[in-house]
Amino acid sequence: MDPDWHDDEKLIEALRDALASADEVPSAFVEAGKAAFAWRTIDAELAALTYDSAQDPLDALAIRSESAILRSLTFASDGWTVELELTPNAVLGQLDPPEVGLVTARGDGGKLAEAEIDELGFFVLGPPPNNPYRLVCTTQSGTTILTGWITP
């Protein structure tokens, strides 16, 4: 036992700290962790968010003024990049390096939408899911790439 804990004041302080740090973890954070179990059957490369126009005030402005694109996102893993443009009617995607395959939007509840990836690595997934989802890209050569969560 920590010798400090023989001192009443220090023990109370350590206890307060221990109880407080359990409280500071938001329950949504814990619930999201529990939900991750649903993904255990997917053996995929994780592609993390590296760019989000919603985080970029200048770009968000440019996008709003010139087109129907609501938001653009980039996800990257070690070997792959998935660039997305969210429009009101569809999710436009580009897989790089390009490869033929299948893309699926999945939420915690399962499959929400599916589309083919063409030989240029391009895909159109529509209509866009209304609930948070992640994209699972499965290429012809057998690689599976899983993006982070996308919240419409």
Binding site: A32, A36, A76
Partner: protein, 194 residues
Amino acid sequence: MRDDSTVVDLVTRARGGEKNAWDELVERYAPLVYSVCRRCRLAQPDIDDVGQSVWLRLVEHLPGLREPAALPGWIATTTQRECFRLIRATSRVEPVDFVQAPDVPEQAIAEEEVLRHERKTILRTAFAELSRRCQVLLGLLMQDPPAPYDEISRRLQVPIGSIGPNRARCLTRLRQTPALARLAADGPDDRTRG
């Protein structure tokens, strides 16, 4: 780790597809993931991202986990790597001092967080083993600022003069709970005295 057998059991069951064993693992280690993220000074949305990556990697990693007892260390190290990766990828967060300090080995930080997490878990377990009365009393005393003695006296229906001795008794019981007694039986825990 002193709760090896529990962790091994949870990992084995989660591997077998038992959702509630997984849930328990997440509940147990979410504070560890969270505290490493906080230490990297990430904002909430980034913490959520890192959390997702860590849990997904763990789901993936479970079948190949050869030493379930090493799980807390694995979780802390993975969380830290994911934090660094996110910081590098987005550069939205000011790098923390230790990120730039080349003389602090990655492993040492993760290990330190694991020990802190372990200590806190033991204290929380010990607290849960106390009588309801002791929990209420200590809870009132731990408030910031601590509840005044006359309020404690009213809530617990004890004379003001006995609050001090009761507090001492409850703390002694805390030290004698199986959770803390196990620690004492192992001798002074030098590992936590970095």
